[in-house]
Symmetry: C2
Subunit: 130 residues, 2 copies
DNA sequence: CTGTATCCTCTAAGATACTG
DNA sequence: CAGTATCTTAGAGGATACAG
């Protein structure tokens, strides 16, 4: 039987999607690409923080997103959730060793961004102007 | 006048959104977070490529997304678009120096991913199992 | 305080058709 | 070959109310 170009392309897509799903770098990108992951990790870099403190430090995030981000990072073993049995009881989140091993990636991205995003901005502006 | 907590939080969100919009690292993350940016850059790392060649190498991407990604990267000055005036005429895309300066970030992410994503996977699986 | 649950919106991305 | 235009869809994220 004959397949149309689009049918063949669809098959390629499916195969490729499966391949992508297994690509470690792609998975890492997916972790980063959720809006609040990096901000939460960045805050936890300073030390353990409570849910409420995270909300205060990341006022742009809704409670839902804080919770979802924390759950996701916890599932991945990037952060550790610990219930402090003091009065009043509270919950603390901190980086796991695995989480700490990600920090150099952030610094490198930060450095590149600080050195080069201005040029990117200029390029964008230049396009807009003419 | 008195503001409710949510009103104050909304103001904080707006302020924070403005702050975030100016954060270079956040802008870089936004560039990476579109689905195809890194894949296109990764392909161009090997040398200049034509539109059709990019489609072949990234079969998961629709033509629209290839075009949009290329336009976006071109606007930012990350890649260069060049019309080759030979017969038959075609278009070539290549990394600019600015684009090449991003490559170390990719390698570092790739290395971390290859070394650690398996553990992340195990952590996820452990949660699912019990 | 630390969350869950629900509903809603908005946008990235896909499907499809068409053009120089 | 190298695109543009339009319609549709899936899912991330926000608003809000409620619960242990």
């Amino acid at each position: 039987m004959t397949l149309t170009f689009e049918e063949r392309r669809q098959m390629a897509q499916d195969t490729y999607a499966a391949y992508l799903a297994e690509c470690p770098a792609r998975q890492l990108l997916d972790m980063f690409s959720t809006k609040w992951t990096t901000l939460v990790l960045y805050q936890l870099n300073d030390g353990p923080l409570r849910h409420s403190e995270l909300r205060r430090r990341i006022p742009g995030a809704s409670q839902k997103m804080i919770t979802e981000t924390l759950r996701s990072l916890e599932r991945d073993g990037i952060i550790v959730r610990e219930v402090k049995q003091v009065y009043p009881a509270h919950v603390e989140y901190s980086l796991s060793p695995l989480g700490e091993s990600m920090l150099p990636i952030f610094s490198q991205m930060k450095i590149w961004a600080e050195q080069n995003m201005a040029e990117v901005e200029r390029n964008r502006a230049a396009q807009a102007g003419g």
